[in-house]
Symmetry: C2
Subunit: 350 residues, 2 copies
């Protein structure tokens, strides 16, 4: 899987070099940009395409025949897996610029490089267009499969952008809500809507749906079931993310969490507001969304006071129980694809 990435980049870049009459320096810039922004993540999303296709083929094979993937399967799954990673890079380049983030995967965000700046907006668009160029190169002659893959990426992209819209407008509204901060939008519904759209579709549903398409799955009910399971898993995943942002040691997490400073509609903030007494609510409102270490410490102290660690553990237990119940109901495809996925994130520490 990892070895496929440089191959894809070489193929893509030499394709542009020969078929487009643009200066060589511009093509070098694109190559650099792709190598800076696409690799370097945990690759969980990309690898899921491969692992899910393995499980699907194994389930289809005659008992005892083993489920080894053909070479063509490995190639197809690796290409689409990297396209999922590529799609994420497209989102992250734009997201970091909009969020004014500083670092990403241990290096400065792409837009913060001196030669880039707001050109990153166009670079993000280029990443998206180049991803479809890869899909077209590898699947363009497969008729219906090509349409299904393109429509899948397209639809997931639209939904992720809808999620970003919810996130950005709720944050902006809360920050600018008349006199001071407005926490009325910090509800479980807002949180769920944002995270399902912004994260769950591209993180969980997209790789599973890629594998289903490659396995030749056509039943709409199977895709609908995948979508509903992946939504619940995505919500669990984001709650973990929000929890780790405040509770994980930075050296394990790989970054310093800033959700409190950034006024995020985090699951912790939602829970805090649900459980707080009027006096505690006042403490929260006076300190949340401020950059000062003292303010951040006050919010974290409040989280401890309300024992949100315990509340999270209970949530995790309930949520995993619910997900397992959904998985136990899966009949039309092997439930292994969902079990593997859950195992990848269950009780994760980063």
């Amino acid at each position: 899987f990892e070895a496929m990435f440089p191959t894809l980049v070489t193929e893509l870049i030499s394709g542009i070099r020969t078929s487009e009459s643009i200066p060589s320096a511009a093509v070098d810039y694109i190559e650099q940009m792709v190598n800076y922004t696409v690799p370097g993540g945990k690759m969980n999303r990309g690898l899921t395409v491969l692992h899910a296709l393995e499980a699907l083929r194994a389930a289809d094979a005659a008992p005892g025949a083993g489920g080894a993937l053909s070479e063509a399967d490995v190639k197809d799954a690796s290409v689409l897996g990297w396209c999922v990673e590529w799609l994420q890079a497209f989102f992250l380049v734009a997201d970091d610029l909009m969020d004014e983030s500083v670092t990403r995967r241990g290096q400065p965000c792409w837009y913060r490089r001196p030669e880039v700046g707001t050109i990153a907006v166009n670079d993000s668009l280029l990443l998206e267009a180049l991803m479809y160029e890869i899909i077209s190169k590898h699947f363009g002659d497969r008729g219906d499969t090509y349409i299904r893959v393109v429509d899948l990426f397209r639809k997931v992209t639209l939904r992720t952008e809808l999620g970003q819209l919810l996130d950005l407008t709720s944050e902006k509204k809360a920050k600018e809500g008349g006199n001071g901060l407005d926490f009325s939008t910090f509800t479980e519904e807002t949180h769920r809507g944002i995270v399902v759209y912004k994260t769950a579709f591209y993180t969980f549903y997209l790789p599973i749906a890629c594998a289903l398409i490659l396995a030749g799955e056509k039943r709409p009910a199977v895709f609908a079931e995948a979508e509903s399971i992946c939504k619940v898993m995505g919500e669990y995943f984001q709650v973990q993310d929000d929890y780790l942002d405040a509770y994980a040691p930075p050296e394990v997490l790989g970054k310093v969490g800033t959700d409190i400073q950034d006024f995020k509609c985090s699951w912790l903030a939602v829970k805090c507001l649900q459980l707080a007494t009027p006096a505690q609510r006042k403490v929260f409102e006076d300190n949340y969304g401020r950059k000062d270490d003292a303010n951040v410490a006050a919010v974290k102290a409040l989280y401890r006071e309300l024992d949100l660690e315990k509340v999270f553990e209970q949530y995790e237990e309930d949520s995993v129980k619910q997900i397992n119940a959904l998985i136990d109901n899966v009949k039309d495809v092997t439930p292994t694809i969902y079990k593997d996925l859950l195992a990848k994130v269950y009780k994760r520490k980063k």
Copy 2:
């Protein structure tokens, strides 16, 4: 054609409202954004799809049978015509933000509205995704035609983004070229590369290719010919644009040109540097790319001194001669599609 726009928006928005579980306020925001950014242009690009399909059908019809378009043709051409306008809106929202532009079509640029800001990056992405949603709704069940339309928009998008990259990096490089400004990149080659990629593909080739697809055209040579004619027309169109920026009265042009202030690699700047004596070059270098009225006036005086008006008129004559020669060579489809297109822009005043 114009009546189709509100229909498309209503259809799209109610589709999102019923199929996506996002708050109604978010859907309202999208509707507002679309109505603010997509209509209001000259609609030349969109109308070209309709006019070119008319010419193609008329040429195919039995002599004397007239070439009236069927209702289905009018609908298909209007949908794709609006998709071309929609694609432009997607580019312009991002471009205005990157260029820090102030007004667009007589109103503030979308990103400058107080409730928007950098959310415009995501809005631009949403415009793109919604355009494919429209294409999918209207052409998704037409198999090969759907693939051809999607691949056309995709490829034109990639090329426009490559053009933006050339534009943005050459501008940034020139502005930051060591000590002061660096005009070494202001050449005819740079200018041609930028304008062909940034403008010609989506302004000329895209609407013509849409009409060809709707007319059932499949010969690759016809599309290749369309591409080469449209590239030359696109270059002519952009040279006009650059000329009008400095020479057209603002009340006719509908905006105040700022290419001189903005340090654009304009055709006028390229010609000026080609024709200038060392002393004149010094005047240019001392004044180009500065905001002060006196600097702008000095550059315009230099343009007059070098009689760039005459140089432009000569260019226009040569260029139109070349385009007409290309059109006279067209044998496989009716040359009317190109003649009409040229007539729309020949000696334009705005």
